[in-house]
Symmetry: C2
Subunit: 318 residues, 2 copies
């Protein structure tokens, strides 16, 4: 049906990472190059094409497709990156067609969080299920929805923006223009920001000296301090988990997925994150029907994006 | 592909309503009987089978399927009604198989809000789109999700429970065990309850005399009083619209549907509801991407359920 191999690309502002992926989602080869984003879109596209050639190597003839996971705003359907905060000067770049021409292989582009969601579905935490919601907890919060084995893109290719679900009406302002977005409470960045704010407002904390020195603690610092009993860090870590639990509860009622997969840098906290979210979930969400999803950690790490991008591209290749 | 006609049944606690539905979702015949729920499941199923025979009439040979929309908790997949607040004594009734046997026609059962969602998708407000979310605003709030033309049921057949999405953390307690469910702020019932509470707590209102007399105003009373300038009714009506807008905003980000369809008794308020929800939506939801769904009123009224149940049953018939 499909040629067996595809290449997945993760297009970041600093590095372009790529992998040669087989039909089971296994990464056969891995390579990366600097993006050199400041040299413009044409230059970057040529670098992606070079990376594709290197990764394909002798398998060139068995290559079905190339899939690129990229930051938005972008459109899978149009094949266009409208803008990208990490890629200065990219405006309405028709990446799909330019890259297809440069490589001679059918290319697809996909929102990076959607690609990671699909990767976890095909080869990671979700490989036994058909329905899942994926949340990537990093600087921001992205996400992706898979229903009946299909990635949900929505009318404007903008589904899965879990980080901008409003979990606190009239809550913390978000650069997106809304107030109370999940991302403002439960991203790795937000946790550090909230601890910094609390300390500046006078709360005592083990992280005080660092904040006074102008540093912003990261989520790992906060989690370690919380674990050691620091009350401010405890409260803010716990609050982040509570908001994640509220989001999971709403996902349960709307889509009733089998699985909710948590990914991104924040899951380095492991059980300290998962058990805290689960405890809040069991407290805030109903018990009248045994329809709860399993909440689990992602298993593919940063490979999820290249595996998912490759799979999506292969499956839509002619 | 499918035989052209199907029968849709709306199984309520007081009446069983039915319709003979063609492949375009048009209602060719309509009929109803009392449920006589107190006489037990066997009796009610015989009454449904009689209604099916009457509705089919001379078209008996062209009948592809019978679809029943029923209140939950129930399972489409198992074909079982686990319990039904309006049908005393119904416990784990295998309605699908019993009714198939009684009628000699393939039967399917579906959550009533899901059936109505699918009816609006096939023949109502959503007939031009492939993706929509439907909310039915009545005594409670139910809902249904259609993606890519498919009804989303979820792992445990419990998707679309929009009324139990939490829109206010630690908010008003809900009989479901959660706090802050949408249903506690924006159902027709909740609006009347909140006005009653406010008046009992001392707020001045045109509806005061009725509340003192022990009546609970309904949403239509509240909307009329709000329209006439009553401040309490205005505030609570507006607040209901605001919570509906927050829910619509979250649906936009998660699923990015083309359409959000509002149905149920509350939409008798027409523009007083729709424009109020739209105004709040435009205020609370982002403007950074032009990916907003249209928010519209349902067009099929109480026919949505029988049209949807018939269509779902016909499409899954062998």
């Amino acid at each position: 049906m499909h040629a067996s191999l595809a290449i997945g690309i993760d297009l970041g502002g600093t590095f372009i990472k790529g992998g040669l992926i087989d039909a089971d989602g296994a990464v056969l080869q891995r390579d990366s190059v600097e993006t050199q984003a400041n040299r413009g879109a044409e230059h970057v596209i040529a670098r992606i094409a070079d990376l594709v050639r290197r990764l394909a190597g002798e398998h060139r003839g068995h290559l079905a497709a190339v899939g690129v996971g990229a930051p938005g705003p972008m459109s899978h359907t149009a094949g266009v990156i409208y803008a990208a905060p990490n890629l200065p000067g990219w405006k309405n770049v028709p990446l799909r067609d330019l890259l297809s021409r440069a490589t001679g292989v059918p290319c697809e582009i996909e929102n990076d969080a959607n690609a990671a969601a699909y990767g976890e579905y095909r080869a990671g935490a979700g490989r036994q299920v058909r329905d899942l919601v994926f949340l990537t907890l990093g600087t921001g919060i992205g996400g992706g929805v898979v229903i009946g084995g299909q990635l949900v893109r929505g009318k404007f290719d903008n589904a899965g923006e879990v980080g901008h679900m409003i979990v606190e009406p009239d809550g913390r302002p978000c650069p997106c223009g809304q107030a109370g977005c999940l991302e403002r409470y439960a991203s790795a960045r937000a946790i550090g920001v909230r601890v910094t704010e609390a300390i500046r407002a006078g709360a005592k904390s083990a992280l005080q000296a660092r904040v006074v020195a102008g540093e912003e603690p990261d989520a790992a610092d906060v989690q370690r301090a919380a674990d050691a009993g620091d009350p401010v860090c405890r409260r803010i870590w716990d609050d982040a988990c509570r908001y994640l639990a509220l989001a999971c509860c709403n996902l349960r009622h709307l889509l009733n997925p089998e699985l909710i997969v948590l990914g991104g840098g924040l899951i380095n906290a492991g059980a300290a994150l998962l058990s805290c979210v689960q405890t809040h979930f069991d407290r805030v969400c109903w018990k009248i029907a045994p329809d709860a999803p399993q909440i689990v950690l992602a298993t593919l790490g940063t490979d999820a994006g290249i595996i998912g991008a490759a799979a999506l591209a292969r499956e839509s290749a002619p």
